[in-house]
């Protein structure tokens, strides 16, 4: 696969710069980017506040619909960011992230179902679907789910452990490229079938819905929604900063090297397994958390979230925004889902054409996504004018729009890491 990727042969030029490499670690973001980020966060944070505290007749009032929609998009953005860590930076294309997303959602949903109490349609201690399916008591895997903290542990550990175990075996036998993608797709397909079964104990077809309250607060109240929104925003921001720190670290360099020249990385003595496994598991956990934040805001989780098309849609968020960048997936999730919301409400029959075209056009004409396009237009050369572009960050002599598979990144990373180890 490596040989087929476009390469920029710069090794000779690089050698002369080797000694002068290892620059003082630059700031996480450049000043303009910081400003932009903080401004965006403040604007986004104002949205629920304008919803709750400004009277509905005021011009500044933001509708609850908009708050819910933006909250949903931010959850998607977290998932996209998680996917980008494995695809954009490590070169592992997962078509099964919808499964981790839904698992996180289901884990949180279990708590929310139990928080309904006896207010369901059947006024039973059991959730409605269990009464309907003639359960006499909670199945064993529902134990402790009445505690919110326990469900939060599930949100982290269920996707995490599943990803770790699956990833361990997959990466150990060096399954990669499309094989890995196809297998993850099969996995989410299998999970979907499993959750569709009534006997699995997660509500079958209908999944979980009709939540009443979270931690004692009514779940539909404006203030609860505002808090959920703000938590999501905070988590998205934290994820962005954390991911930026990760990809800028030496560890991140190795990840990029895995993406660009895995064999070479192994030959110089790295065990790629643990690097891949770490980022894969981290990504699954982030995705699970995104799902957990998503469920109370949307009010429903069902096995449809695990369907293969959903997971591929996540990939296109990343591709549209720009993989291998960190802002890109966030933009992509917003743009594609904004388009989806707009089209499915106004021209429902056009939506699939549009989505299909986005897939085709982005892969053919925008391999670096919107961020790449933007970068091309700006033609800036400074190292860290843009967030996270590995090519841009690594070498100023390559054009900012260096294709994936930029050799110099891998080489620099390897040299860097090897040098520090010996």
């Amino acid at each position: 696969m490596d040989a087929s990727l476009p390469m920029t042969k710069e090794s000779s030029g690089m050698k002369t710069r080797t000694k002068s490499y290892a620059p003082p670690r630059p700031a996480l973001f450049s000043k303009p980017v910081w400003t932009g980020l903080v401004a965006t966060v403040i604007v986004l944070a104002l949205v629920p506040i304008l919803n709750v505290f400004v009277p509905p007749d005021s011009a500044l009032h933001v509708s609850s619909y908009a708050v819910a929609l933006l909250g949903k998009f931010m959850c998607y953005a977290i998932a996209a960011l998680a996917l980008d860590l494995v695809w954009g930076y490590t070169g592992i294309l997962s078509l099964g992230h919808g499964m981790f997303f839904a698992l996180g959602g289901y884990a949180h949903g279990m708590y929310l179902m139990r928080a309904i109490g006896r207010e369901g349609a059947y006024h039973s201690d059991l959730p409605d679907f269990m009464v309907f399916l003639d359960y006499k008591a909670y199945p064993w895997f529902w134990s402790f789910t009445e505690h919110w903290w326990y469900c939060m542990l599930l949100v982290v550990f269920v996707p995490g452990i599943l990803a770790f175990v699956f990833g361990y075996f997959a990466f150990r036998s060096r399954i990669k490229g499309v094989y890995f993608s196809i297998i993850t797709q099969a996995l989410t397909f299998a999970a979907m079938l499993l959750f569709f079964r009534n006997a699995t104990g997660f509500g079958g077809n209908n999944g979980f819905t009709d939540f009443k309250r979270i931690l004692g607060f009514p779940i539909t109240a404006g203030s609860t929604r505002a808090v959920l929104y703000l938590v999501t925003l905070a988590f998205l921001f934290a994820t962005l900063i954390g991911a930026r720190m990760l990809v800028r670290s030496k560890f991140g360099r190795v990840l990029t090297a895995v993406r660009d020249a895995e064999s070479r990385l192994m030959f110089v003595g790295y065990d790629q397994l643990w690097f891949k496994l770490f980022v894969w598991t981290l990504s699954a956990v982030l995705c699970g958390i995104a799902g957990a934040l998503y469920v109370p805001q949307v009010g429903i989780i069902n096995p449809g979230e695990m369907s293969p098309p959903n997971s591929i849609e996540m990939v296109i968020w990343v591709a549209t925004g720009g993989r291998g960048t960190l802002i890109g997936p966030i933009i992509g999730a917003g743009v594609v889902n904004g388009l989806k919301t707009f089209l499915t409400t106004t021209f429902p029959e056009v939506w699939l054409y549009a989505l299909g075209l986005v897939f085709v056009l982005v892969t053919l004409f925008l391999p670096q996504g919107i961020v790449g396009l933007f970068r091309k237009l700006m033609k800036k050369k400074t190292e860290d004018a843009f967030i996270g572009g590995p090519a841009a960050a690594a070498s100023s002599s390559t054009p900012p729009l260096a294709p994936l598979g930029d050799e110099t990144v891998a080489e620099a990373a390897v040299r860097d890491a090897v040098g520090s180890e010996s």
Binding site: M1, D2, A3, S4, L5, L93, F166, F169, A170, R172, S173, R174, I175, G177, V178, Y179, S181, I182, I183, Q185, A186, L187, F189, A190, L193, L194, F196, R197, E262, S263, P308, P309, I312, V315, I316, A319, E349, L352, Y353, L355, G356, L357, V358, F359, V360, V362, T363, L364, P367
Partner: protein
């Protein structure tokens, strides 16, 4: 029994003809009928009439049959004093009890056959069919009685069973008779019935026998007589063994059938993915296009060649191949060509194409499933080992899959195009150097793979629903087949398809359809961890 009404009519007409024939033979020797049987026909009470008809039906002597026929023809009269007389064609009245001929007395009333009596006559008729000299009629009657046997018909059934020589009709009669006899109050009769059932191989007798042989939840036996119980237990064991063997055979057949479907769905993919390395996520949609082509050809035949509608499927095969391969080649030239060597991007782009194709079909044909019918020569099936129905369409599709496989093999290994395809697969640059038009070969190969998907679509249209989502349900399965079989190997694909088909069908009864499928997916995922190259890996020394 999809349409009872026309079927009944046929039975009735046949019965009529039969009765006419029998009456002719029986007329001269018309012996007397019992007065107890005939008298109630003249009463005013419908219940008595119905009972009398049923009794006449089970009696099934030529005289009784003649009287039933006369009743149906409304040529039976009741005199003022309640005597029942049959009026023949010459307007002579005959007393069926004494065979005495006389003129019809005044004041006689015709016995009117209302719907209730007609129903009773029909029931009696279907019982009488059991004694027909024609095997087909006896079989049909025996099968019909399996559904709706009346205890009053037991004597008739027993007589029919004693005479029956045809295996199929006998099997069915054994079942019905024994089921009735098992309910009889006579322990000896119950025991004979239980013993007789041991020769059955139908799964439906198992609950009957089990009810006798095994205690219920409280430990009580429904059957008081221990001898009957042990006879039932012995029979149950025999039946169980036979049924298990039949099920085994049935599973094996359905496994092969599923394998042929998987093979047709995956064969095209084995070429585009296996040989060319293109991840074509729109492969499922090419299957769907094949199925819709079949639908279109069917519509054209309905419109223009209604006489040849039975054979539309033969025309659909080349049409589906051409349509799917043209669409495939157009895709290759317009999109996929630019993405060679970037498999992940190809995956995304072709996924986009699949969405567009799906929506296009939805816009053109509507979101609902369209109706594609089985031609007569593909519907129905043959029953083997009493209970395993081997459907013709499945047999045809197995044959079709084998044929397509053979053609693909010949094309790849015995033709110039196949040589080029293999050359380009093995060493593109070298092939280019010696003058192989690699670009065109790519296009043709992709067209071939897509065309085969179209052929798969024709087969799928004969088995299930044809709708815009048709392809979606096969995409994961087909990739699993190719990945499991090992990329670049036709033999691997075939063996993987057969293996998956069989494992699936043998798991289904144990684990349920959905859980079985999940287990298989998980097993494949685990298997790939162990052997990333699939079952049949090409030996080589390259690293990536």
């Amino acid at each position: 029994m999809k349409s009872p009404t026309p079927y009944r009519w046929i039975v009735r007409l046949r019965c009529l003809a039969l009765c006419v024939a029998w009456t002719m033979f029986a007329m001269p020797a018309m012996a007397a009928l019992d007065a107890d049987l005939v008298k109630p026909l003249g009463s005013d009470d419908s219940d008595q009439k119905v009972a009398a008809i049923a009794k006449l039906g089970t009696l099934a002597t030529p005289e009784a049959i003649a009287l039933l026929k006369a009743l149906r023809d409304e040529t039976v009269y009741v005199t003022a004093e309640g005597r029942v007389l049959v009026v023949d064609a010459d307007s002579n009245a005959v007393d069926p009890i004494t065979d005495e001929k006389l003129a019809l007395p005044d004041g006689s009333d015709n016995i009117v056959i209302n719907n209730r009596l007609r129903g009773a006559l029909d029931a009696a008729d279907s019982g009488l069919q059991l004694l027909s000299p024609e095997v087909a009629k006896r079989r049909a009657a025996a099968h019909a009685l399996e559904q709706e046997a009346d205890p009053a018909q037991l004597p008739l059934l027993q007589r029919a069973l004693a005479k029956e020589t045809d295996a199929e009709a006998r099997e069915s009669l054994v079942l019905t008779t024994s089921a009735l006899e098992l309910k009889s109050p006579d322990p000896a009769l119950r025991r004979t019935a239980a013993e007789r059932l041991s020769e059955s191989s139908s799964a439906s007798v198992r609950p009957l026998l089990a009810a006798l042989a095994e205690p219920d939840a409280q430990g009580h036996y429904a059957e008081p007589d221990p001898q009957v119980r042990s006879a039932a237990a012995i029979s149950l064991r025999a039946v169980n063994g036979r049924v298990t063997r039949a099920e085994y055979l049935g599973n094996a057949f359905y496994g092969i059938s599923l394998a042929s479907i998987l093979l047709l769905a995956a064969l095209g993919l084995a070429i585009t993915f296996g040989l060319m390395g293109i991840i074509n996520m729109a492969h499922g949609e090419l299957l769907m296009i094949g199925a819709y082509s079949t639908y279109l050809v069917q519509s054209v035949f309905r419109q223009f060649f209604p006489a040849a509608i039975e054979w539309y499927l033969l025309a659909a095969v080349p049409v589906a191949f051409i349509v799917a391969s043209l669409i495939g080649m157009a895709l290759e030239r317009s999109v996929i060509r630019w993405l060679y060597g970037r498999p992940l991007e190809t995956l995304l782009a072709t996924w986009g194409i699949s969405l567009i194709l799906q929506q296009a079909v939805r816009s053109l044909f509507g979101a609902q499933n369209v109706e594609v019918s089985n031609p007569a020569w593909m519907s129905g099936g043959i029953t083997i080992m009493g209970g395993v129905v081997v459907a013709w369409n499945r047999i045809m599709i197995i044959g079709f899959a084998a044929l397509v496989l053979l053609l693909v093999w010949i094309l790849l290994n015995r033709t110039r195009l196949g040589l080029f395809v293999r050359a380009v697969t093995q060493n593109r640059r070298m092939a280019d150097c010696v003058g192989v038009p690699t670009g065109r070969v790519d296009m043709l190969t992709f067209g071939l793979g897509s065309g085969i998907a179209g052929l798969g679509g024709v087969a799928l249209s004969q088995l299930g629903n044809v709708g815009p989502d048709l392809g979606q349900s096969y995409i994961v399965d087909s990739f699993m087949v190719v990945v499991l079989g090992g990329v670049g190997q036709l033999a691997g694909t075939v063996i993987a398809a057969i293996g998956l088909g069989e494992v699936n069908k043998f798991l289904e009864p144990v684990a349920g359809a959905v859980l079985g499928k999940i287990i298989i997916l998980v097993v494949i995922v685990l298997f790939i961890q162990k052997r990333p190259q699939g079952l049949f890996a090409l030996k080589g020394r390259s690293v990536d």
